[in-house]
């Protein structure tokens, strides 16, 4: 083997192994969701087989597959998940954008403490505050409601949204508003018409992060949503403990769970890196 090819070969092998490690389970999940019981347990696992959609039918409660005693009927949970994640994302992004703007532009007393506090909310282990939430929510009648979970998800994401958006606003020169202000416009006009359009990418990235966290949220939902407001992850995990597990169904549900995340990631892939660096990339001036 020519010596000069080695520098490419070794990274290629490393990346290849990593790809198998990262994508293997996903591939296995997708394939398994399409297999019937017999195929599912055959060894070695087959790559080519006749796809069987009964797992998906059970998940969505379609046809006779839904009549089976073990069918999960995930439609309700899916609707819960979508409503909660989307609402929580919209709220977190809206408030995070406003808070991020304030922190970027105004040196109010205690700003740095506020920023630290905002970020620290993300670091609290959910278990530590679960009991508190449980008590508060039952008093307020928010237990097992979508509203309750929307509030939780908004709260978890708000700190991060504030930080990411502050980073993006820091990248917009202050003169953008100052020009408008001295020329007879209000700050609200400048914010809405001039600054916001410049941070569209940042809003997309923030929304992506918030949605994915909200969609995957498990710890709070599993305690606070006992029946009606159960989200997809909670519902799926509760099925694994029951007798007579329908593996195809579980796998199909897993695929349903992964799809929105994948779509979202793909849509905002351009902005994700910016979001992870708190908007530092592409700054014109600090």
């Amino acid at each position: 083997m020519p010596f000069h090819r080695q520098p490419i070969l070794i990274p290629a092998i490393v990346i290849g192994i990593y790809m198998i490690y990262a994508c293997g389970p996903l591939l296995w999940l997708v394939l398994s969701s399409l297999k019937d019981r017999q195929e599912l347990f055959s060894w070695p696992p087959s790559l080519f087989f006749t796809p069987d959609l009964s797992g998906y039918r059970m998940v969505f409660g379609i046809g006779e597959a839904a009549e089976t005693a073990t069918a999960l009927g995930l439609t309700d949970a899916l609707i819960n998940s979508v409503v909660i994640s989307v609402s929580g994302t919209v709220l977190a992004v809206a408030f995070g954008t406003l808070a991020g703007y304030a922190c970027s532009r105004f040196a109010f007393p205690g700003r740095d403490d506020f920023m630290f506090f905002a970020l620290s909310t993300r670091m609290i282990p959910p278990v530590a505050v679960l009991v508190f939430y449980h008590v508060m929510f039952s008093r307020l009648g928010l237990s097992d409601t979508r509203t309750g979970l929307i509030l939780v998800v908004t709260f978890i994401n708000l700190g991060l949204a504030t930080w990411i958006m502050k980073g993006f606003f820091d990248g917009v020169p202050e003169e953008i508003e100052n020009i408008a202000l001295v020329n007879g416009y209000t700050r609200l006009y400048a914010f809405w018409n001039l600054v916001l359009p410049m941070v569209r990418g940042g809003i997309a990235a923030t929304a992506g992060f918030c949605f994915i966290f909200a969609w995957n949220e498990f710890a709070f939902s599993t305690i606070l949503a006992t029946t009606q407001a159960k989200t997809l992850p909670v519902k799926i995990s509760s099925a694994t403990g029951a007798t007579g597990i329908e593996w195809a169904q579980i796998c199909a549900a897993g695929v349903v769970l992964v799809i929105p995340v994948a779509i979202f990631f793909w849509l905002i892939r351009k902005y994700l890196l910016m979001g992870m660096t708190f908007g530092v990339l592409g700054r014109s001036r600090t």
Partner: protein, 359 residues
């Protein structure tokens, strides 16, 4: 157009006093230049006048109206900013129309004013282009047009010419000066370039560390600086300075103690001050070859003569320091042995840098 008055204006950022108790009035139609080194509070002062910064204490008046706490949009000022001056997403004409639209002016009125600005600033070719495609000079012209078009009570310019290359800058200065006189705008222009200040201003306000060091006409600042900082900051080539010791016998310069004969009037003033040491300054243009009389003359060592354009300079050593003087254009090739300080233009400073009056 308004008269602008600052009354004990201060702005603090935590421990830093960016503007420290400034009181001064700018007359209607006056071209004021705020001059000073980086970080001395020029921009902060300007932002206070515009309403972009809240004063920690003190008041701002436009004519009789106190505006200290009005929002920028209620002040009718125009400002050209140091870094970003135009909206990149708007064509030049829309940038100019921007302040007019804020006031809800009619389309015909806006068209008329754009045409007016286009004529004054010669913008015909670039009205339909976006700022990003224009050279810095044209961009600043358009920014000025947008500032002027709204006929502000005061025009604020924060280093508007610093991004423009040397040659075009001269031209812009000239145009700015004419325009300001023609329209009679009260103008506050910020710069750290003393040459720009001297060539533009009716009155220069020299600042340092948030305070006004001296305010006056360019001539006054040049001929009559209040302290060593002012003397040093203004004028190019810059002022010659040297330590001096004052005694009964006379004045000696530098470490070597080079004696110099000074007018009796000056010696009398130095004696009265009771100072033993201080500094002496002289501008290069007041340092010329001495005649027979060695009054106020210093010896020339290791001289080098050179010319910048038609001006001839002589650099020489005086007690270990380099001093600079001028030579007459018709002096020929022989170099003088002594250079003479014009007695009327010698500056005396205390060791703390305060100017000692000797007149």
């Amino acid at each position: 157009m308004a008269r602008v008055a600052l009354d004990h204006l201060s702005v603090r950022f935590g421990q830093v006093a960016a503007v420290d108790d400034i009181s001064i009035a700018f007359e209607q139609g006056e071209f004021i230049v705020l001059l000073g080194p980086s970080g001395c509070g020029k921009t902060t002062t300007l932002r206070c006048i515009a309403g972009l910064e809240q004063p920690t204490s003190g008041k701002i008046f436009f004519d009789q109206d106190e505006v200290s706490h009005l929002p920028p949009r209620a002040r009718q000022v125009a400002m050209v900013f140091q870094f970003v001056s135009l909206y990149p997403h708007l064509r030049v004409r829309d940038n100019i129309a921007f302040p007019l639209r804020a006031r809800g002016e009619g389309r015909a009125e806006i068209e008329r004013k754009i045409a007016w600005m286009s004529k004054i600033f010669d913008l015909g070719d670039i009205l339909h282009r976006r700022p990003g495609t224009l050279p810095p000079g044209a961009r600043q012209k358009a920014a000025l047009a947008r500032a002027v078009v709204r006929e502000p009570r005061v025009l604020l310019l924060d280093e508007p010419l610093s991004a423009i290359d040397e040659q075009f800058r001269e031209e812009m200065r000239w145009e700015l000066r004419h325009l300001q006189k023609e329209l009679g705008m009260t103008t506050v222009h910020v710069t750290h370039d003393q040459r720009e200040a001297m060539s533009l201003a009716d009155r220069v306000v020299l600042m340092r560390a948030g305070r006004i060091v001296q305010a006056g006409t360019p001539r006054e600042l040049f001929d009559d600086p209040v302290d060593e900082f002012a003397a040093h900051f203004i004028g190019s080539p810059s002022v010659n300075l040297i330590d001096a010791s004052f005694s009964e016998d006379g004045v000696a310069l530098g470490e070597a103690g080079v004696p110099i004969r000074l007018p009796e009037r000056h010696l009398e003033a130095l004696r009265r001050s009771g100072l033993r040491r201080g500094r002496i300054g002289i501008r290069p243009h007041s340092l010329r070859p001495a005649g027979r009389d060695d009054h106020a003359a210093v010896p020339v060592e290791r001289p080098i003569a050179y010319a910048v354009g038609r001006e001839r300079f002589l650099d020489f050593e005086l007690s270990g320091q380099t001093w600079r003087g001028v030579l007459p254009a018709d002096a020929g090739d022989s170099l003088p042995e002594r250079m003479q300080l014009d007695p009327a233009r010698i500056f005396y400073f205390t060791p703390e840098g305060v100017r000692l009056p000797v007149a």
